[in-house]
């Protein structure tokens, strides 16, 4: 991986006092390559490299580390910090019911993820209500109902009706059925589909969510920035959930999405089962991306 590559490069530089600009230049070429191969967005890589360069040049070489190890440590620390530094929680506000809205591209994992979130919340002693706002995809409502049944969480549906009306009605339903968190599953859509993005804005306006979570497939490539930026500009995201991290992708999209929106990644999907949702750890993600 990157660590070995940098070790090789810097083997001959052992015993030096400071990290020189040339050392950093050579190292950054390798880091840039590693990040691009990990699917971090091209422009995000550029910015990241510049930040690391500033931190690395002129640094004293620590007694316990080789220059290569030291540069790696700076890269790793910088990336961990960029990705949020520490774990992030859901901000469920003070009003009841709290509202969580899941949005994202087609097939990203929204329906599965909202069910996983509901299961997690049940374990925390909450009483979530799942809401079927995807009225387009064949059997989407049935999919959510089947998942709801598997975890013992009720699913609110009005069949193929206006998603904005469904969202609004779900709040009333939650109140009259003593459910304290409403989780809206929305249809997958392209960020460039104006009509469908308008629908999301209307849902947001109708129910004023505490959390608007962008669900992103961890294997997304360079396009991740376009998607994240558009959803964030249109809706004001409060967080991100990265799915399918049980795959073998390095997941550079995580850095891209965080860099371009500033939104914290709160959870990661680690499998198809409904208990496969974990808190996002920035340091673990940094190691994974760096390979």
């Amino acid at each position: 991986g990157l660590t070995d590559r940098l070790q090789d490069i810097f083997r001959k530089l052992r015993g030096k006092g400071k990290i020189t600009e040339e050392d950093v230049k050579v190292a950054m070429r390798e880091v840039r390559l590693a990040l691009l191969e990990a699917d971090v967005n091209f422009k995000v890589v550029k910015d990241f490299i510049n930040r690391v360069k500033d931190r690395a040049v002129g640094q004293e070489v620590l007694q316990s580390l080789t220059p290569g190890q030291q540069i790696i440590k700076i890269v790793y620390d910088e990336m961990t910090e960029l990705m949020g530094g520490k774990e992030s929680k859901l901000n469920l506000g003070s009003k009841t019911p709290s509202v969580i809205m899941a949005v994202g591209l087609q097939g990203a994992g929204k329906t599965t993820t909202v069910a996983k979130l509901a299961k997690t919340l049940v374990k925390q002693g909450r009483r979530p209500l799942l809401v079927a706002c995807d009225v387009y995809r064949p059997a989407a409502i049935k999919q959510l109902q089947v998942l709801g049944e598997q975890i013992g969480v009720p699913v609110f549906s009005m069949g193929q009706n206006n998603p904005v009306d469904i969202a609004r009605a779900s709040l009333h339903h939650a109140k009259s059925n003593n459910r304290d968190i409403v989780i809206l599953d929305t249809a997958g859509r392209l960020h460039i589909n104006e009509e469908l993005m308008e629908e999301l804005k209307n849902i947001k306006e109708a129910v004023n969510p505490d959390e608007i979570l962008l669900v992103v497939d961890a294997m997304t490539g360079q396009d991740a920035v376009n998607v994240a930026e558009a959803f964030n500009n249109d809706l004001g995201l409060t967080g991100v959930i990265l799915t399918k991290l049980d795959g073998d992708t390095r997941g550079g999209a995580a850095l891209s999405v965080k860099a371009v929106t500033g939104c914290p990644i709160k959870y990661v999907g680690m499998g198809e089962k409904l208990d496969a949702l974990e808190v996002f750890h920035p340091d673990r993600m940094a190691s994974r991306i760096l390979g």
Binding site: A38, A139, V146, L190, H191, T220, Q222
Partner: protein
């Protein structure tokens, strides 16, 4: 679009940037640009627009050496198409589109609900089958996918179907047990019809990054892959990963998905693809 630019380092660096941002991957991008640079020097080309044409032609050439037709005119009936890929790529929807296309060509199509695992997967395919007007062979949720496939092949033979399209559960390529399962499904098909499956189509989401190469490699090893269906090209992703897949694995793109409706399927056009990739 680069017009009247000087053919210096900056120009070629910008070209690499365009390719990398299109998910072509670093190695393939550098290689492609280096070849174009050499070719431009050798042919004394000084016009930047001409260089853009060169790279478009080379891209189209790499992707266009293959036959994009589907092998469905088989001596043994039915022709069997196995559809595989990772979770959420667009397999089930692409099968609906394929069924619709074949139905327009007056073929008798049968579908098999090989995803017996995911919630409402069978329901989803049944709705599509009804919309397109084709029959679906299915068992209950949780049934053995091999049993569904075996049943579907026999039903297809009995009903004299021209084409049988088999849907499978999404699976990540690093899940060894799931890849074993899909290899087993392929073997069952081959056992029932020695020349089948006639097509194994790997469905890849155009938004996928470099992981797509690993997907193609491992699915090729597990089931063989005769072609790719590249989905969601109606988004802003360019799908550049198919270039590395063509170069490293010789797997052609046969079809592209450009939307969520049953008509949103197109035969892959390498020239149009190269144009869009480099704009």
């Amino acid at each position: 679009v680069k017009t009247n630019k000087k053919l210096d380092d900056d120009f070629y660096e910008e070209l690499e940037e365009i390719l990398i941002q299109a998910d072509v991957g670093v190695e393939t991008s550098l290689e492609l640009v280096e070849n174009i640079r050499k070719s431009a020097r050798k042919n004394k080309i000084t016009d930047s627009e001409k260089v853009m044409d060169l790279i478009k032609e080379e891209t189209a050439r790499i992707l266009g050496v293959y036959d994009t037709s589907l092998r469905v005119e088989t001596d043994e009936k039915p022709a069997v198409i196995l559809v595989v890929g990772v979770n959420g790529a667009g397999k089930t929807t692409s099968i609906a589109k394929l069924a619709y296309r074949f139905k327009q060509e007056n073929k008798k199509v049968l579908l098999a609900a090989g995803d017996t695992f995911r919630a409402a997967a069978i329901d989803q395919l049944q709705i599509w089958a009804d919309r397109v007007g084709v029959e679906l062979i299915k068992h209950q949720e949780g049934a053995d996918p091999g049993a569904v496939v075996f049943d579907a092949i026999n039903a297809a033979k009995a009903r004299k179907a021209d084409i049988l399209i088999i849907d499978t559960a999404g699976r990540l390529q690093n899940k060894t047990n799931l890849m074993k399962e899909i290899s087993k499904v392929r073997n069952i098909i081959e056992r029932e019809i020695p020349s089948a499956p006639h097509e194994v189509l790997l469905v890849i989401d155009a938004t996928t990054g470099q992981n797509a190469v690993s997907q193609a490699k491992i699915f090729k090893e597990a089931t063989g892959v005769t072609g790719i269906i590249l989905t969601k090209l109606d988004g802003t992703a360019k799908g550049g990963i198919v270039l590395s897949i063509a170069k490293e694995l010789n797997i052609p793109v046969k079809l592209v998905g450009i939307g969520e409706g049953m008509e949103d399927l197109r035969t892959f056009d390498p020239v149009l693809f190269a144009e869009a990739l480099l704009e």
